[in-house]
Symmetry: none
Subunit: 220 residues, 4 copies
DNA sequence: AATGAATGAGTTTTCATTCAT
DNA sequence: TATGAATGAAAACTCATTCAT
């Protein structure tokens, strides 16, 4: 389940915040289903239950709405990560928690996976230059870096790896099996979306990553 | 480097095979750049240097052309894999070769990455039900399975892992850093597309995967 | 003279009912001139003096507009018939009035003749299954049947004939000389569209039908 | 059953007359099904089993082919009428035979009905000015006129009616129930195409016409 | 005589966006 | 704040016709 739906309008039909939230939610659904070009402004307005013109009134145009959706999506996951409060945990637990959070977040927020896929088709031109987002991600880098450092200090993490490199590896393993689940299912003639398959992959991913961090690099 | 461009028409302007090949090539470019909905039939015909109607004459409609492009893309990579002739190599070399081939193929065939991303947005409805593709991938599964078995028999691979699970893990690590390179670059304010970065990641991916295969699972 | 044009918009350019009526009127003209396939959506919009897209906004597509035109055409003639209020007339007058109304209606509503001709080319697929139309025609059948019965009861109509059979015969004689007037004129090298010719035929048709109804069947 | 299909090509694929005949036949089917605008040159060539370009080679363009089809259709019915050799029959028999021939011809050559309907949509511009056709129809007028005269001379026909007027009335009654059978069936919710219905109508039409010709005009 | 390849002009339809209220 | 009406530009697709062999 995604973010809680905005509260119903108390008694008036005129609740701008609620209307905007409904539009954003509808847009997120449409954009993640169809992509930026495939999405229809009509469909978004209809799904939000408001007049199409309101969308323009609040968001300017289709592309700005898309940007707003992406912005919100990134904020939500990064806030979720911060709320894990990894510093309070021993490094190994912290890392495992971080990996599992990412894995589970993608599973339960498939729209996030789809949105990012589509935004990459557009060369990320809607999120690039967002000061807000770079701030959020600087914090993310620090969190991972801190956990790694604590782990190495404690002797549980042996590998020397850059935080961003590790993040990309984690993200790869949490993201790809979902982003590409349809083609994978098609070419292997098998359904990769069952709970069992997902649980199996979760275990594999966590195992792979943790054992990597804890193992010594191959000497030569 | 992509597939070699079809031979020029010997002496005539009327060479249907060549025309179809040019259309496919142009379509591949447009579809990987813009996605199915974003692509313009006009642009494809123009890029192929032919009349727009020829596209319909040969491929029926936009969506069938898209399907043809995907089909061809899958065939090319799978043929490339088969030409590696992994059976001739000792298991460890075979596996490393397979991983490196996949990594390098994605790097040099970015359109493949983009096409698959877009096709997943459409829930793989253009490749599903392709008998041809499922045959190609059955062979792939056998190749990986064979290499794993040989490695375990020889004692170099300790992990017990399903071929398809391993394939997905490999693909994740070869694919994601490219499919999501734009958002990654945007959020971390850094360019992940330089040769140096790519080489760095290649080493990391191969290292991660090989050491995983060769390591013992965590005892409990 | 066709149906009165809808009232002009009082003071605003935004009068959806008026716009729809203008579109229907323009469509009726174009469809009856060119048929469904020959008609051009562009021409209809231009004739209605509105943007082409409005046509889609209000009617969905070309074929639905065609259906709406047919529906309206049938409604108008059947309403006209009902307004004759045949029950108030003695049966012979009623029947003559009905025949003359039909004859005159076709003459003054040539588009109706053309539309029906074209709709038959399409096997009536646009009017089939219209509940509204079958209701209207059930009433028509009753009206004719009632008049026939009254006439027989009064001894003025001798022939025993089914209402629908009679209707088809009447319609044949009122319709064909108009629907086929161009080929008739061409093959006989004569103009059948002059007022004199029409008046001559009217007399002939009424005479033929009335004398048939009043005559005894050939004994054997 | 329509005109006998042209003889198969004896041994060569190159039999221009046969090819032209197949094209005409295919065109007749397509034009009577879809009308001039609805017909597709592609479909005609495919149905004729020949290359589309041959159609242009033999007939020039779509519209000329349409004209050729109409020309042939008119010739065939008028030749059929002449072959009745009405002069050899007593006038009443001759007239009844003429009426029945027309009725039956329309029933068994529905394409003729459809073609004429469509040609009237085009204001008969494809048959107008055909010297050949006006000759054929002059003869028709004479045949009817002669039969009427013989009948009046013999005292069996009482009515004084112009040959062309009579022809139009006959044609109305033979044509309309077929040309408009789809809308009639739709609006009355009944199938007018069964053999029983057709036989019923045939009797009615012959009865109506013969009794009209033999009856005295209403005195006043 | 016959064919498959190729085309230009046009056709329906879609869609983001703006206007008027 | 909210709405339904209206639009222009462009999209996919069609189709009669011609070219080259």
């Amino acid at each position: 389940m995604t973010a809680a739906p905005p509260k119903r309008p108390s008694d008036s039909l005129r609740d701008p915040e609620w209307t905007k939230a409904r539009l954003l939610e509808a847009a997120r659904g449409e954009f993640s289903d169809k992509g930026l070009s495939g999405a229809r402004v009509n469909a978004i307005a209809a799904a939000a239950g408001v007049n199409k013109q309101l969308l323009y009134y609040y968001f300017g145009d289709k592309e700005s709405l898309y940007t707003a959706v992406l912005q919100q999506a990134y904020e939500e996951i990064r806030i979720g990560e911060q709320e894990l409060d990894l510093e309070r945990l021993p490094p190994e637990d912290a890392m495992r928690t971080f990996i599992e959070f990412n894995f589970d977040y993608m599973v339960s927020h498939r729209y996030f996976v789809a949105l990012l896929g589509d935004e990459n088709l557009h060369e990320a031109r809607h999120v690039r230059d967002s000061v807000q987002l770079s701030g959020l991600h600087a914090r993310l880098e620090q969190t991972i870096g801190g956990t790694l450092a604590r782990g190495r200090a404690a002797g549980v993490f042996v590998r020397d790896i850059e935080p961003v490199d590790l993040y990309i590896t984690i993200a790869s393993l949490c993201f790809f099996h979902l982003s590409n689940r349809h083609t994978l299912s098609a070419i292997f003639g098998r359904d990769f979306t069952s709970d069992t398959e997902i649980a199996h992959r979760r275990e594999h991913v966590v195992d792979l990553l943790m054992s990597f961090l804890k193992s010594a690099p191959a000497s030569e």
